[in-house]
Amino acid sequence: MPQFDPAFFAPQLFWLAVTFITLYVLMAKVALPKIGAVLDERQRKIDDNLDKAAQLKAEAEAAVAAYEKALAESRSHAHSVIKEAGERLAKQAEERTRDLNAKLAEQIKAGETRIAAAKDAALTNVREVALEVAGATVARLVGGTADQAKLDAAVASALKEHGQ
């Protein structure tokens, strides 16, 4: 086998050394730094884009949070406005009811007073009429005039008997 012929050892080892050292230098100084740079740059770009994406996401989340906060605020504001208006209206209604009640009570009272006065007047008239009628009746039946004081008492007791 030619592989075990020592005559070919020296030239092969020599050219192995020459070519391998050349390859090593070319790889170490030229090829590998180039490929490494390309890979590094890609990695950097990917990281950059990921960072940017994360930043944009954070911004979007902040915007959503702000929107939700504004929404909650306006909702609570609306709530308080409604509540306030409701309270005000209730108060007004109550006031008006009270006023009306007072007015009505006043009118009722006035009416009652008037009725009472009319009643009194009527009753006084009834007494006088009763006295007259009693006087006339006594005069007609008995003849002569009746005792005024006795008539008074009799009419008063009759009226009292009828509740007045």
Binding site: M1, F4, P11, W15, L26, M27, K34
Partner: protein, 244 residues
């Protein structure tokens, strides 16, 4: 039938001599030079455009780079970063030697034991120097682990020494034998195809089918042996840097 050993013959192309030593430029040296040129051209031209989204060639260059880088990272760790160019050159040189040897008529320099031994001995000596440089005399602990009973030294030390010093030989012989045997089988099968096919077409088909299958297998072996050579170098490097 052609002599299956014929293909391993060294043919001087430019006879040279330096200091009485024969350093002729041979067919073996031609393939070595072609390998270096092709590797360099492939790796530099493919990344010339520095594309963010790599094309076919750039992807391939990046795959090789990442493959060896991760092999070194997994087997040696971050301390192995310094030796990346060497391990990478080793892998590419062996792989191109193996694969270019598959071209019919081409010479396979990795089928020569002196070439594989040359690379193996560089790995061996380099790793030993790294070991002593990092650990000093403590590196001798490689041959007698801490905590083992002193009496076992009689057995352990010779075994460890033998296994350590047989590393360059096993590394060299594994690659050389695989390449040599593979090429002999291809040549013999090729001879069968020609001889049997010369009589009748039909008997020639059987060895031809075999030849096709073995050729595919040999391409696999060409890549696999380059991988094995490199990963064993990484493991030896790991031993030197981290001890056991």
């Amino acid at each position: 039938m052609a002599n299956p050993i014929e293909q391993f013959k060294i043919k001087p192309i430019i006879p040279l001599e330096i200091g009485g030593v024969d350093v002729s430029f041979t067919n073996s040296a031609v393939m070595m030079v072609i390998s270096v040129v092709l590797i360099t051209a492939f790796l530099t031209l493919s990344v010339r455009s520095r594309a963010l989204v790599p094309g076919r060639w750039q992807s391939m260059a990046e795959v090789f780079y990442e493959f060896i880088a991760s092999m070194l990272r997994d087997n040696v760790g971050s301390a192995g970063r310094k030796y990346f160019p060497f391990i990478f050159s080793l892998f590419m040189f062996v792989m191109f030697g193996n694969v270019l040897g598959m071209i019919p008529g081409a010479f396979t320099y990795t089928s020569h034991v002196i070439v594989t031994f040359g690379m193996a001995i560089v790995v061996f000596i380099g790793v030993t120097i790294i070991g002593f440089a990092r650990h000093g005399t403590h590196f001798l602990r490689m041959f007698f682990p801490e905590g083992a009973p002193i009496l076992t030294a009689v057995i352990l030390v010779p075994i460890e020494l033998i296994s350590y010093f047989s590393r360059p030989f096993s590394l060299a012989v594994r690659l050389f034998a695989n390449m040599t045997v593979g090429h002999i089988i291809l040549k013999v099968l090729g001879g069968f195809v020609v001889t049997l096919g010369g009589f009748y077409v039909l008997p020639g088909i059987v060895p031809f089918a075999f030849l096709g299958a073995v050729t595919v297998l040999e391409f696999g072996i060409a890549l696999l042996q380059a991988y094995v050579f490199t990963i064993l170098s990484c493991i030896y490097l790991h031993d030197a840097i981290h001890m056991h």
